[in-house]
């Protein structure tokens, strides 16, 4: 049977996702609109959740003036920041400076092309979905480095350098941990991964979840890895010299990336849109918020680590663990494909706990000075 699905030949899988809502251009238009709405609405919701959440955890109120519970605060922020003067440093590289927020923003938006909101409800059900995500998400770094370079500010440059170093390092454990999921699901397609999750994969891949979460946080500058925009050290990092609308773009990038990471983690590990009773898209949103809440929580709790400690964590802690996790997952998939999931869950949690304890004993992030 030769099935052609949006121009891409789909291999014969256990079930074919419904062509939703049908027709190439309609599909394209509808999902583009949906993705834009989804991203912008959720980014606004994220800023609100983050600020209110931070406020609650810090025993203060957070924004509560604009609208009920301050729910219109993001709108007010957006209006304010868009009306501000756009200041470009006189010695900056103007074109690069102008282009940087755009280059940084689009990859964050492009990731949502492969995030399923429902069975088959996604812009493009690429066979290489997760590979596409990994590839595209790194492109933002170019934009951030352009911002750091183009601003002709030393703080910006330091921040951009840190960002590049972090992304290059953390891409490794991230991808290796994601491969564990791919091995279990048997597909790179995001939709198929969700369909494969009769139980959320976080239960089968607890270590993988942790590695993806940590490495993802490091890639998108979330605390405690926010040292590319470490406000107490390098003022605001790469966006020190940005104001007005361009700053708004970077602000948007930050949260759009957080949203993208939350959506990917929700899709890969938490069963994506699957869930009882509630409509699928709502399940996805709930899971996205759950992951994002975890990020807000770490942000309020943990101080920031140093650049060499960031590197050490990536290469000495996460990378070996990701490799071991991959090897173990591969072994499990090959040797016991029909094992009961519940035994596997217990075994995997035990392995994760043992490995983490072992590595935290073996490896110290390092007190004092580290000569590099």
């Amino acid at each position: 049977m030769n099935i052609v699905y949006h121009g891409i030949a789909v291999p014969d899988m256990k079930q074919l996702p419904p062509d939703w809502p049908g027709g190439f251009f309609w599909h394209w238009l509808v999902f583009t609109v949906i993705i834009f709405t989804f991203v912008f609405t959720l980014v606004m919701a994220f800023t609100w959740v983050e600020r209110r959440g931070l406020g609650r955890m810090q025993s203060r109120l957070g924004p509560n003036r604009a609208g009920p519970f301050g729910i219109l605060q993001p709108v007010a922020d957006a209006i304010k920041v868009l009306l501000k003067e756009d200041i470009v440093p006189s010695r900056s590289d103007r074109i690069v400076h102008w282009l940087a927020p755009v280059v940084a923003f689009f990859p964050a938006l492009l990731i949502f092309a492969v995030v399923p909101f429902q069975n088959g409800a996604l812009l493009a059900d690429l066979d290489i979905g997760i590979l596409y995500v990994v590839a595209i998400s790194s492109v933002s770094t170019v934009g951030i480095f352009m911002a750091g370079w183009g601003s002709s500010n030393k703080f910006s440059l330091l921040g951009a350098m840190r960002n590049v170093a972090a992304v290059v390092s953390y891409e490794m454990p991230l991808v290796l941990a994601v491969i564990g999921v791919v091995l279990i699901a048997g597909s790179l397609s995001m939709n198929q991964i969700v369909l494969a999750q009769d139980i959320p994969l976080i239960l089968l891949q607890p270590l993988g979840f942790l590695i993806v979460f940590i490495a993802g946080c490091a890639e998108i500058n979330r605390s405690p890895f926010d040292l590319m925009e470490a406000d107490s050290e390098i003022v605001a990092g790469f966006h020190t010299e940005y104001s007005g609308m361009k700053f708004a773009m970077f602000y948007l990038v930050e949260y759009a990336e957080a949203l993208a990471l939350s959506a990917i983690i929700a899709t890969l590990f938490l069963g994506g849109w699957r869930g009882p009773v509630l409509p699928p898209w709502l399940w996805l949103v709930i899971k996205v918020f759950a992951v994002f809440f975890l990020m807000v929580w770490t942000r309020t709790t943990l101080p920031r680590i140093r650049i060499d400690q960031l590197m050490a964590l990536a290469w000495k802690f996460l990378f070996p663990l990701a490799l071991i996790n991959l090897a173990i997952t591969g072994l499990q998939v090959v040797a016991w494909p029909d094992a009961l999931p519940w035994t596997m869950i217990i075994v995997n949690f035990a392995i994760a706990a043992v490995l983490i304890v072992l590595w935290s004993r073996l490896f110290k992030v390092g007190w004092g000075r580290v000569e590099v």
Binding site: D231, S232, E233, V235, T300, T301, I305, V365, R369
Partner: protein
């Protein structure tokens, strides 16, 4: 393979989120590593020592508020003690006890900000400092009850205090004393053994004891280096010799020890306040002092252990209503002497926390 890199100069400050005011560090960086540092002061220089020569003795008290604006009460106390020493003014016992209570409360308030700001420098996204400002707020409320002010109190006078404590002060203080130890424990639970805090601040910015003494460091910086030296014990002023308390010291002299010393000092301050409240006598809160003090010709030096260290006031009188010379031994400034060698070789991120752990107030550094 060695990469040839070119050092570049970065001005950290005077407008920078973590220079605790308007301080400027002219750093030369090689990548992230600091090659050279030059601290540049003076952005908050108001010429307080010169201004004081033009004011009456009483009129200088508000100026001292503006030195270490996070510990105004201590400044008031040190200055009043210097004038009392110069003019031979007696202080009634009740006033001495109240001064001790206020100075210790002020030390707690100041250390709360010091520790909170240190964690902000560590990058802890406001949480510790907001918690600590919440507690400081209670102390500030207590002070507001006394004098209506929340930052620059201007509360102490020669020979005592400007007014007696209101009757609701002691119950409120009692309540604070009951609550505070629990909060300090809570902060320790959150911060003390945090792996990132340890990784960032242990063995970072080590100031050896000999260097600390040689640069005339004082306060938590000196004690963090393991030197048991506290003016309250070494040269007891006011009624400090009647209280039991310990001097917490560090061992390694790193940023972490300086932070720990501050936290332990808060506990000791609470102990002192407990005892002072229990022993608080009645009687006048101020002795009779003329409105314009005219001390005899001479000079006097009085020093106290303020939140930042050995805060001294040196006064020279020419028997007029204004001092001939008014000098402040500013612990914040002197503690910074070793900053350069403490920073060189560390990364930018470390520089910020080493600087933060010294805990300076620009009002006192620049005067």
């Amino acid at each position: 393979m060695t990469l040839k890199t070119e050092p570049f100069v970065v001005n950290i400050g005077p407008q920078h989120p973590s220079t605790h005011g308007v301080f400027r560090l002219r750093t030369t960086l090689d990548g992230e590593v600091i090659v050279d540092v030059e601290p540049i002061f003076g952005y908050l220089h108001r010429g307080i020592e010169k201004l004081a020569e033009e004011r009456t003795y009483g009129g200088i008290i508000p100026l001292t508020d503006r030195l270490d604006y996070l510990a105004s009460m201590s400044n008031n106390m040190g200055y009043c003690m210097a004038v009392e020493k110069l003019a031979g003014i007696e202080v009634p016992e009740r006033a001495e006890y109240l001064r001790v209570i206020l100075a210790e409360l002020q030390r707690i308030a100041s250390h709360l900000i010091g520790v909170g700001a240190f964690f902000n420098d560590l990058g802890a996204m406001m949480t510790p400092i907001v918690y600590m400002i919440r507690e400081r707020e209670k102390i500030v409320d207590l002070f507001e009850m006394l004098c209506g002010q929340r930052l620059t109190y201007n509360f102490m006078r020669f020979g005592g205090l400007s007014q007696d404590i209101p009757e609701e002060f002691l119950p409120a203080l009692r309540k604070f004393l009951d609550q505070m130890p629990r909060f300090i424990d809570e902060y320790d639970q959150l911060l003390m053994d945090n792996e990132i805090v340890l990784a960032r601040s242990k063995d970072v910015g080590v100031l050896p004891a000999e260097t600390a003494i040689n640069i005339s460091a004082s306060g938590p910086v000196l004690r963090g280096s393991g030197v048991k030296w506290d003016i309250r014990k070494a040269d007891p002023y006011s009624v400090y010799d009647r209280f039991e308390f310990d001097i917490p010291t560090g061992t390694a002299g790193d940023a972490y020890d300086r932070y720990r010393v501050k936290v332990e000092e808060m506990r000791q301050s609470l102990r002192i306040i407990e005892q002072a409240v229990a022993q608080l006598p009645g009687g006048p809160f101020r002795s009779k002092v003329p409105f314009l003090v005219r001390p005899p010709v001479g000079e006097a030096y009085a020093h106290i252990e303020s939140a930042r260290g050995d805060l001294g006031f040196y006064l020279v009188s020419d028997n007029s209503i204004a001092p001939y010379r008014f000098h402040v031994r500013a612990p914040s400034l002197i503690n910074l002497t070793a900053l350069r060698e403490m920073l060189i070789g560390w990364k930018v991120a470390d520089a910020i926390i080493i600087f933060g752990s010294i805990d300076i107030v620009m009002g006192e550094v620049d005067r």
